[in-house]
Symmetry: C2
């Protein structure tokens, strides 16, 4: 089973040459999903787009993670950049970044470019954390593979 080896390679790879392709992909993904119509979205539309509940979106706002504008009647209006931020937040959340860490990071973002060194540091830490976690998932994956093989009558030799 080559899983562990592949994981090692993922984690070792210092990043290939095709960086700009991925950059484009990132912006496209964020914008294609989102900028298709540049209209601001209601909380329900935003929730559907990022796969969260409206409750969660309001909770995120309460925590200062996102600040959608309001229309005349006080309804939230999520702009393209709000949505891009939500995509970012959601991805990081799914990788296990805590709400608190995201709060700290977003606070720095809203303080302007002077906080870039600290933001970079945070992203580097998150990167380490994610890599560690991928390694742990690799171990668990092997464990399931091992069990399944045994349950299948360990035809390994």
């Amino acid at each position: 089973m080559a899983t562990q080896a592949l994981i090692e390679r993922i984690l070792a790879a210092g990043d290939g040459p095709s960086s700009s392709a991925i950059d484009a992909l990132h912006e496209l993904l964020d914008d294609a999903t989102i900028e298709a119509s540049a209209m601001p979205r209601s909380v329900a539309e935003a929730a559907r787009l990022v796969g969260l509940s409206t409750h969660t979106l309001r909770y995120y706002e309460q925590e200062g993670l996102v600040r959608p504008a309001r229309n005349a009647s006080g309804y939230r209006e999520y702009s393209a950049s709000d949505l891009r931020r939500l995509v970012f937040l959601t991805r990081m959340r799914l990788s296990g970044t805590t709400i608190n860490d995201l709060k700290r990071y977003i606070l720095l973002v809203e303080q302007g470019p002077s906080t870039i060194p600290e933001r970079r540091r945070i992203m580097l830490d998150q990167q380490d954390r994610i890599r560690r976690q991928i390694r742990e998932l690799g171990l668990a994956l092997e464990t399931t593979e091992y069990k399944i093989r045994i349950y299948d009558g360990h035809p390994q030799g």
Copy 2:
């Protein structure tokens, strides 16, 4: 950046030929760490070995995940197989398997070989979950890489 490609390959790979090597590794890892001295371990020793707290180990027992024997004074004695189970539980926990899912699985284990088909099913489900999660981590990893590149002055071209 080849990360995504590598992840795809990990997830696509139908498992190479070296299965028995990994099987051996599993048993070695479980036994080398553990069987070195075949003596039963106290709760503190067991906790240190698997990297959990004694509180957590007692909690796991309370939840039925492990049943160490007791000595004459009522102290827990973790056998090699108890420890192997703890390693299994810890790995699965670190991959995000819930305590409840583990309870269900262990219950089946203790019901004997007749539950093997269902256990196999559970492991297959976990495997899917873990792969999905690796994919999500891959996305988050790309996101951090993208941010860092930008913070470094996006020297991508």
